[in-house]
């Protein structure tokens, strides 16, 4: 049974400038205040920009909201998937920067969930002048345990392989699981239908690749190079990014704030949207009311 309409503000957005290369490739969605500070939401492995539908609307009144899908996910252009480019997180980080360039975004607040947290870190290391703050939701620079350095990432290689098996098992019956996703957008039902069909759906081959890149990447050495302030939202009892990993990230990011959450699991943006929104608001503080135009 779908949740009731009006419980949370809906994202009343539209696709970005169709002239831009990234618009189609990354299904870029622009909403919020045209002159607001840009706030970019980046989804993690497993889903698409719908991940943010309980959080992003809270900033519509104050910010310019930029939502997008990574290539291979959601409504992105699958034909743009390039095995070589996306064989490392840097490829995804380049996409983020390309969107920023296309839309001439400055002073970006980048909110990245899960693997997108690291994608944001890489992008911000590359071009720090474009970023104001990073909000990292459940970040992990390395998921695999490294006995040589005593690092605990939470997983062994075989665990990841097993998850890839899960991906494959469930690919078989996936289409029957597809339930309509109501976008809270009664004016444009065709949009809802489109997104329903794309929600959490991925080409299984691309899903496997993305999983490999996500879980086999090791970006621990990159952390110390970040020059942009960052907020770490650390859930309790997150099996994917345990607290020790959040602590590690906090220790190694030069200008970071660690915010432990009451929310459990790996997706506070879905399971505890209000706590997530409040944590972000508190971190952004006065900036929320800043009058500076960001167009």
């Amino acid at each position: 049974m779908p949740h009731k309409e009006g419980d949370v503000p809906a994202i009343a957005g539209s696709y970005g400038d169709p002239e831009m290369k990234t618009t189609q490739r990354n299904a870029v969605m622009i909403t919020g205040r045209d002159d607001g500070r840009p706030m970019m939401f980046s989804h993690g492995f497993g889903c698409d920009q719908n991940m943010w539908r309980l959080v992003a609307p809270a900033f519509v009144a104050t910010h310019r909201i930029v939502l997008f899908d990574h290539v291979g996910s959601g409504a992105s252009d699958l034909s743009a998937y390039d095995e070589k480019r996306y064989s490392e997180l840097r490829g995804y980080a380049s996409d983020v920067l390309e969107i920023i360039h296309d839309y001439a975004l400055r002073g970006v607040i980048f909110v990245g969930h899960s693997v997108s947290a690291m994608i944001g870190v890489l992008a911000a290391i590359e071009e720090p002048e474009r970023f104001d703050r990073l909000v990292l939701v459940g970040p992990s620079p390395c998921y695999i345990n490294d006995p040589a350095t005593g690092y605990v990432g939470g997983f062994g290689r075989s665990d990841i392989e097993e998850m890839l098996d899960s991906l494959d098992s469930n690919y078989l019956g996936w289409s029957s699981v597809m339930a309509p996703v109501i976008m809270g957008n009664p004016d444009r039902p065709e949009l809802g239908a489109e997104l329903t069909n794309s929600f959490c759906r991925t080409d299984p081959e691309i899903a496997r690749q993305f999983a490999r890149v996500t879980f086999f990447s090791d970006n621990r050495a990159d952390l110390r190079n970040l020059r942009v302030p960052a907020l770490i939202l650390q859930c309790s009892d997150d099996v994917i990014a345990p607290s020790v990993v959040g602590d590690f990230v906090h220790r190694h990011l030069p200008d970071s704030t660690l915010h432990p959450m009451r929310a459990t699991g790996h997706c506070p943006n879905l399971s505890a949207p209000q706590e997530t929104i409040e944590a972000i608001r508190r971190y952004l503080g006065d900036d929320l009311d800043a009058d500076a135009p960001w167009t």
């Binding site: 049974m1 949740h3 290689r157 899960s166 009892d237 459990t264 699991g265």
Partner: protein
């Protein structure tokens, strides 16, 4: 079975008990809080899993019951999906039983919300899907297998196509090195190719050239690559520690490159008949960043890849051999041709080494056993160790067996060298030493080609040596025959000129001779023997002697020719010789001449234009047409007449008929009527044929009666005065100048020339002194000219003293310093009065 019993069975006792329905439902049933914490679980689930209710309720989340991989999937897919759609169906999870075993399950969840829309509770059913999941897993495995194998087949097909199109080893290696990444997901791969000559494996290509471990490997080394090449079997190190056990080198490389798995595949062609096993032509190594086990199928595929690559390499090698043997054949032909372009020994040796370097060798030397010190011709810069070379050359020259030094410890100082015997007609005439270019096969691998080359070179050099030898002998012979002072007689003068052919060819058979038959009879002869080289020179010598011997019989030219015909019966090589022969009576001036097939002599009398003597002609010596009485002709010569005998080289030109050439000769000869006799034949030859002549030229010019005028030039060297005196004395005698006057003139001339040398050319050793003597009815005049600047020392007067002497002896002495210094001496002819 009876009806009532069936009715009895239909009565279901648990229909009354909803809790039984819940607890013993045919599916597991869990109720959890929105965060997954289990608040209620049914008996079915507990019995399937062996878990205790007390351990679950309030203590565990549903997620915690899943395998780790399942947990990851739950967190990334299941939970978000449930949060957004409020229900999720038929998700396959493995539940971990109490005993650690897995329970394959299909899971459905529904999220219930309160009136405010807040998540309240999640109800989850778990269906035991052991069989279905097993079946699905099989399907999945089959599908994966099919997909995998399809992908691999595609990869393999592409690689095989690439391999088939690879004409060289390098291209085959480049094709195969690209395979492991798409086929197996390898991190990087490299290829080594077998260099059987040098017993090593050469690292030729890699997808990650920056990584460590791409060195050439000796086939004998304890090294994974060498081992795989030797054994021809696959080697897999599944982990660094495994590699450590087998090959510490490999383990170190893996550690440096951050690899956890390494696979080495032999690239082997299908065995040929003479070899029992497959021949390994190279090794493909690929590695993985993670620990990775190859499946049976993957292993088979890798082996197949190795075989395909091996066959491609084998084919490329055959192509290569074919191309190489074509190249060699062409090379041999071109070397032979280049050598044959020149006849002499040293140029031929030079051609040989210059062709060998750099195409075949970095350095090459020909050592020939000629002369006292032998002869070396070398090219290239990297000569091998001198001591080794000298020793080896001596050994090869003596034993006649080639030496190859390209493997083994002793090759250190001179790697890849060969010393080959140069043999011809069963004799070792020298050696050919080579240091091979690294780009080619080693010397011993090229042995067949090199020995072939040495054989050809040996023969060509031997021929050059023989040619050289013959040429030296022929030249010596000819020089000895042509040289020899013509008789010195005031009644006549003779000038000769012999000019060998302009090209580097064998000497010809032209000759001339001048001799006195008796005190009053002079014989002159010019002849041309058929053929060239030492045979012609020998024949010429024999004929020359024969002519001299037969002339003493004084039977005249015609009889002499007839006897020479007889001579050709015994000396076959003299047959068809042509010659012009003349006898001159020095007292009467009567000349008898005869021409055997030879060009007509050219006579120039003082009062008439030159004319050819076309009479007295007959056929060449020993010819059939010549076997009849020979003709001769008489002609009376006046004093001052000049007679020219010559060979065909002077007038035979491809671009001019003979008649025209003879006319030119007559004109040129007439033009030089007043030119001094010395140098006249040479000047004529120069005018008529120039430098590029293809034939020998031989001229003899006889002047009857002394010259009107004597002209000589000598270098500023007092020693040459003696020659001048000799010439002048002959000239004076020829004009019947009285002895007393002659002595005075000779002394005065000597003083004047000495003065010119001493004073005029004190600082110029290359100056020339010209002397011209003229005679008239009244007096003899000698003019001595130099072009130096006279320097007279202040305190002495040697000039004066010399001049005093001259003035006393001469009737008149004039000195002209307008252009250099000319001293004119005049002596009146007392005898003429």
């Amino acid at each position: 079975m009876s009806e009532p019993e069936a009715t009895q069975d239909l009565w279901a006792p648990w229909e009354d008990d909803p809790s039984d329905l819940y607890e013993n439902a045919p599916c597991g049933y869990l109720t959890t809080l929105p965060d997954g914490t289990i608040v209620r679980v049914n008996e079915t689930f507990l019995s399937w899993t062996g878990l205790k209710r007390s351990d679950l309720v309030g203590r565990r989340r549903f997620r915690d019951l899943l395998s780790t991989g399942g947990q990851l999937y739950h967190e990334t897919h299941y939970a978000p999906l449930l949060a957004m759609q409020d229900d999720v169906h038929e998700i396959a999870f493995d539940i971990v039983r109490a005993n650690g075993e897995r329970l394959p399950a299909l899971v459905n969840s529904v999220m219930h919300r309160d009136d405010a829309g807040r998540p309240r509770v999640i109800r989850t059913t778990v269906l035991n899907a052991t069989e279905r999941r097993g079946y699905e897993r099989e399907l999945l495995a089959a599908r994966r297998l099919a997909e995998e194998s399809e992908r691999r087949v595609r990869v393999l097909q592409r690689i095989v196509a690439d391999l088939a199109a690879a004409p060289t080893e390098a291209e085959a290696a480049a094709a195969v090195v690209r395979a492991p990444e798409p086929a197996f997901g390898a991190t990087s791969s490299s290829v080594w190719l077998m260099d059987a000559d040098r017993a090593q494996l050469v690292s030729v290509t890699s997808t990650d050239p920056a990584a460590a471990g791409h060195d050439d490997v000796s086939l004998k080394a304890r090294h994974a690559v060498a081992d795989v090449a030797r054994r021809g079997t696959v080697h897999i190190s599944g982990s660094v520690s495994e590699a450590e056990r087998d090959y510490p080198d490999l383990a170190a490389t893996m550690r440096r490159n951050g690899r956890d798995t390494a696979v080495l595949i032999p690239l082997s062609a299908v065995g040929t008949e003479e070899k029992d096993g497959p021949e390994v032509l190279g090794v493909l190594a690929f590695d993985f960043a993670e620990e990775r086990a190859l499946s049976e199928t993957e292993l088979r595929m890798a082996e197949m890849l190795g075989q395909q690559a091996g066959q491609a390499l084998d084919r490329a090698r055959l192509y290569d051999d074919l191309r190489r043997s074509e190249e060699r054949a062409t090379f041999l032909v071109s070397v032979t041709r280049a050598m044959e372009e020149t006849h002499r020994l040293r140029p031929r040796s030079r051609r040989l080494v210059d062709r060998l370097v750099p195409e075949v060798a970095d350095w090459a030397a020909v050592d020939l056993r000629v002369g006292p010190d032998g002869m070396r011709t070398e090219a290239g810069s990297t000569s091998p160790d001198a001591g080794w070379l000298t020793e080896t050359i001596d050994a090869v020259a003596v034993g006649g067996e080639p030496r190859f030094l390209d493997t083994g410890p002793e090759s250190g100082a001179c790697p890849d060298c060969a010393v080959l015997p140069l043999t011809a007609r069963g004799r070792v005439i020298g050696t050919l030493s080579l240091r091979m270019t690294p780009a080619r096969h080693t010397a011993s691998a090229e042995a067949g080609f090199l020995l072939d080359l040495a054989d050809r070179a040996g023969l060509a050099l031997e021929n050059a040596r023989l040619y050289e030898q013959e040429r030296v002998i022929a030249q010596t012979l000819q020089r000895s025959l042509l040289a020899g002072e013509p008789p010195h007689d005031s009644r006549f003068a003779v000038e000769t000129h012999y000019q060998p052919a302009g090209y580097d060819l064998e000497i010809g058979g032209d000759w001339f001779d001048v001799f006195l038959i008796n005190t009053d009879k002079l014989a002159v002869v010019v002849g041309d023997v058929v053929g060239r080289g030492i045979d012609a020179a020998t024949t010429m010598g024999q004929l020359r002697s024969a002519v001299r011997a037969l002339a003493t019989a004084e039977a005249g030219p015609a009889r002499l020719l007839e006897r020479l015909d007889d001579f050709t019966d015994r000396v076959e090589s003299a047959r068809m010789t042509t010659l012009a022969y003349a006898e001159v009576d020095l007292g009467t001036g009567e000349m008898t001449y005869a021409c055997a097939g030879h060009l007509p002599p050219l006579l120039h009398e003082p009062t008439a234009p030159p004319r050819f003597l076309f009479d007295g002609r007959s056929a060449p010596l020993g010819s059939r047409a010549g076997r009849r009485p020979r003709a001769e002709r008489r002609v009376r010569l006046v004093g001052g007449s000049r007679l020219l005998l010559y060979t065909d080289g002077l007038v035979e030109r491809r671009d001019r008929p003979l008649d025209a050439s003879l006319q030119v000769l007559a004109r040129e000869y007439a033009r030089r009527r007043d030119a001094p006799l010395p140098g006249l034949p040479a000047k004529l030859a120069d005018t008529m044929v120039g430098r590029g002549h293809t034939d020998d030229v031989c001229l003899l010019c006889l002047a009857l009666g002394a010259e009107e005028r004597l002209e000589r030039a000598i270098g500023a060297d007092p020693a040459q005065i003696a020659l001048l005196r000799k010439d002048l004395r002959g000239w004076l005698a020829g004009h019947q100048v009285a002895e007393e006057s002659a002595q005075a003139i000779l002394l005065a001339m000597s003083e004047a020339v000495a003065n010119s040398i001493d004073h005029g050319y004190r600082d110029d050793p290359f100056g020339q002194v010209e002397v011209v003597a003229r005679i008239s009815a009244e007096a003899i005049e000698v003019r001595v000219t130099d072009h130096g600047v006279w320097r007279t020392p202040d305190d002495s007067e040697p000039e004066g003293r010399g001049l005093d002497l001259i003035r006393r002896m001469m009737d008149r002495v004039t000195i002209d310093r307008s252009n250099g210094t000319t001293v004119t001496l005049r002596k009146d002819r007392r005898e003429a009065r």
